[in-house]
């Protein structure tokens, strides 16, 4: 049952995997922004995670340790952002941009000597007996563990933000840091932890690019995925399940345009490869249109630094 040379079952199965990097990064950024911090350094943290994960996986021979290495690298880089914005009270937009520029430079410096190496493979988690079932097999059972982890994290974050005390504190800090401070919460310390969590998630997402999607080390490997993750957070109105939908929509478009390139649709390759970015813009327009001001669910203190005067 192919449609125009493209098998829909394979398409859905591939899009779930191709959405993992932006899904993880966007989930992390959702928590960061819910706490009132706008970290534009997602692209930088992702690429550092991609390199960190790759290096750790190659050196230890274990892709699982590699993913945690990627997460650690992303978190480490995000701590620079945390120090600058939470301790030195630097402008969040400028610091985020600096983090991306710095991360791209460091990754290209540190990645020398890792070109052309194959990382240890990340295998399918469940037995073939399940993955070979018609239709549901590839979609539900044919993935590696990170795909399931990313879906699990969506559910966990939804629950934490919605129903737990920790989630309430994070949201309080993001909606009104003055009020949260008056209640006795350490605003900057809570934000620092959220930033580190966001860095770890972005790093892990980056590691998925270099360990499972590509899989090898290339300069500039994340190719703007971090920026798309930022756009998806806006698209999702800062809600985890909508982040999942956004990431899958985007993953679907990416896979579809790659398939169209292979299938030879007659549309020039260049125009197909710009499609994901154009569609991201379109989605941003649709989500923001007609909602002037902050009505689209953005945390009220987003992007503002907090300094306790008393």
């Amino acid at each position: 049952m192919d449609i125009g040379g493209i098998n829909p079952v394979i398409l859905i199965a591939t899009l779930m995997a191709s959405a993992v990097p932006i899904l993880l990064a966007a989930l992390g950024e959702t928590v960061v922004e819910r706490s009132g911090v706008l970290n534009l350094g997602v692209e930088g943290m992702m690429i550092i995670g991609a390199l960190g994960g790759f290096v750790v996986a190659v050196e230890t021979g274990s892709p699982v340790i590699g993913f945690f290495g990627g997460a650690a690298a992303g978190a480490l880089l995000s701590l620079i952002f945390a120090a600058l914005t939470q301790v030195f009270l630097a402008n969040q937009v400028a610091t985020g941009l600096a983090l991306t520029l710095f991360g791209l430079g460091v990754s290209s410096l540190g990645g020398q000597g890792y070109n052309g190496i194959k990382p240890p493979p990340t295998e399918q988690l469940l037995p073939d007996a399940l993955a070979d079932l018609p239709v549901v097999g590839p979609i539900l059972f044919g993935h590696d563990w990170v795909v399931y982890f990313s879906i699990l994290m969506t559910a966990v974050l939804w629950w934490v933000l919605k129903a737990t005390r920790v989630g309430l504190i994070i949201r309080a800090v993001g909606e009104s840091h003055e009020a949260a401070h008056a209640l006795g919460y350490k605003v900057n310390r809570i934000r620092l932890m959220c930033i580190a969590f966001g860095g770890a998630m972005a790093g892990m997402g980056g590691a998925y690019v270099s360990l499972a999607r590509v899989p090898q080390w290339v300069d500039g490997i994340t190719a703007g995925a971090g920026w798309i993750a930022l756009a998806i957070v806006v698209f999702a109105s800062w809600k985890p399940w909508r982040v999942l939908i956004g990431a899958y929509l985007f993953g679907g478009i990416t896979v579809l345009q790659l398939n169209l390139q292979v299938a030879g649709s007659g549309i020039p390759v260049e125009y197909l490869s710009m499609a994901p970015y154009l569609i991201t813009i379109l989605v941003l327009v649709i989500m923001s249109a007609g909602r002037k001001g902050k009505a689209n669910g953005a945390p009220a203190s987003l992007g503002q630094n907090f300094h306790a005067s008393r």
Binding site: L40, I80, A83, L84, F88, L89, A90, N91, V93, A94, T95, L97, A98, L101, F102, G103, L104, G105, V106, S108, L109, Q112, A223, G224, W227, I228, L230, A231, V234, P268, E270, Y271, S273, M274, Y277, L278, T280, I281, L284, V285, S288, A289, G290, R291, K292, G293, H307, S309, R310
Partner: protein, 359 residues
């Protein structure tokens, strides 16, 4: 323990002192980085910061400084106007590429003309290309309230694919024997952005950069529009009462920065780069963000910052050929500079107080 205390008014001293302090801190941290890479840090720092100006090959390298500083200054001034008003155009790289494509496209369309009007027409077309590309995020922001940071950045990736298409498709040199890239402007005198004074590296792009710096300074200090830009950035509510139209401000700031980035692209592609090729853009659009902040978002400061950043490019190339320092190390170095600047900047608005006992 030390704690931060807000100053009643921003410190004039630290406003001007932070850039030099940040540069010194970056040199120290960079030196440690270079030492960790097995290079002699003093030699590397001297190669980057001293040799291009006073070293053996300074007669040639000094010219290279303005060649690199020109586009950085031009782009950074445009960005700074927007940043001051709280409008974040970070897609200057895309506007730079589109300015180059549109401007060069006009010139290549009438090849081989000898009319001396062609270069001015290309300059206008280049500015238009960048302006039009910046109008996309500007209009989407004013009409649909979309985030200009994300849209302008997405458009960089779109511009890069258009550039790839241009250099392998619609602008490809028909006599290029199948190689990607457009005709070279060095063999097209009427459309070439040749050096006006080679020892200084002065071409029309450099002239435009310096003139723009002066005009922008006048705009910010003497003109109503400059006042509105500053007001909108520092006190958005007061700006509304003053009658500042936020939508018009967005269109103006994005338009100016887009046009300037487009101009920079046109001057680069017809001059130092020579042709439209898949990688003629070297990230000036992103480095200009660092230049804008390093120059304190002040046009005259940006001129100084542009030369300093050009020094890291020229010196970095020297260090790369002579000492085998990887190009990426310079990128890290530039990123560090922005970090230190942002960190030291805290002293402008706050001071550290010794915290005695419980409060």
């Amino acid at each position: 323990m030390f704690r931060l205390e807000k100053r009643p008014t921003p410190s004039k001293f630290w406003l001007y002192a932070t850039p030099p302090v940040a540069v010194i801190l970056t040199m120290i941290a960079g030196g440690i980085l270079f030492a960790a890479m097995g290079k002699n840090p003093f030699e590397v720092i001297r190669t980057i910061f001293w040799d291009p100006v006073f070293g053996e090959f300074a007669f040639y390298l000094r010219g290279q400084l303005l060649v690199k500083a020109g586009p950085l200054i031009l782009i950074a001034i445009g960005l700074a106007l927007g940043f001051r008003a709280g409008i974040w155009n970070i897609g200057a790289e895309g506007q730079y590429i589109m300015g180059a494509i549109v401007g060069a496209g006009v010139g290549l369309a009438v090849f081989p003309t000898e009319s001396r009007w062609i270069f001015p027409v290309m300059v206008v077309a280049g500015a238009f290309g960048g302006w039009a590309w910046a109008m996309i995020p500007a209009i989407l922001k004013t009409r649909f309230n979309t985030n200009e940071i994300l849209v302008s950045l997405m458009l960089v990736y779109v511009a890069e694919t258009i550039l790839a298409k241009a250099s392998t498709g619609f602008l490809k040199n028909p006599e290029g024997m199948g190689f990607p890239g457009s005709r070279n402007f060095s063999s097209y005198p009427a459309a070439e952005n040749a050096f006006l004074y080679e020892p200084l590296g002065l071409h029309w792009g450099g002239v435009a950069a310096l003139v723009t710096a002066v005009l922008a300074y006048i705009l910010l200090t003497r003109h109503q529009a400059g006042f509105q830009i500053k007001l909108a950035g520092q006190a958005p509510r007061a700006a509304r009462f003053h009658g500042v139209n936020p939508a018009r401000l967005v269109v103006m700031c994005m338009g100016i920065s887009g046009a300037l980035a487009g101009l920079a692209g046109l001057f680069e592609v017809t001059g130092p780069a020579g042709q439209i090729s898949i990688d003629f853009n070297t990230g000036y659009g992103f480095t200009a963000i660092i230049v804008a902040f390093l120059g304190r978002l002040n046009p005259l400061g940006i001129v100084l910052a542009g030369f300093l950043m050009a020094l890291t490019y020229v010196g970095g190339e020297m260090a790369s050929t002579n000492l085998g320092l990887p190009d990426a190390a310079i990128q890290v170095f530039q990123g560090m500079l922005l970090f230190f600047l942002l960190a030291v900047d805290v002293l402008t608005n706050y001071r550290f107080r010794l915290h005695v006992g419980a409060h």
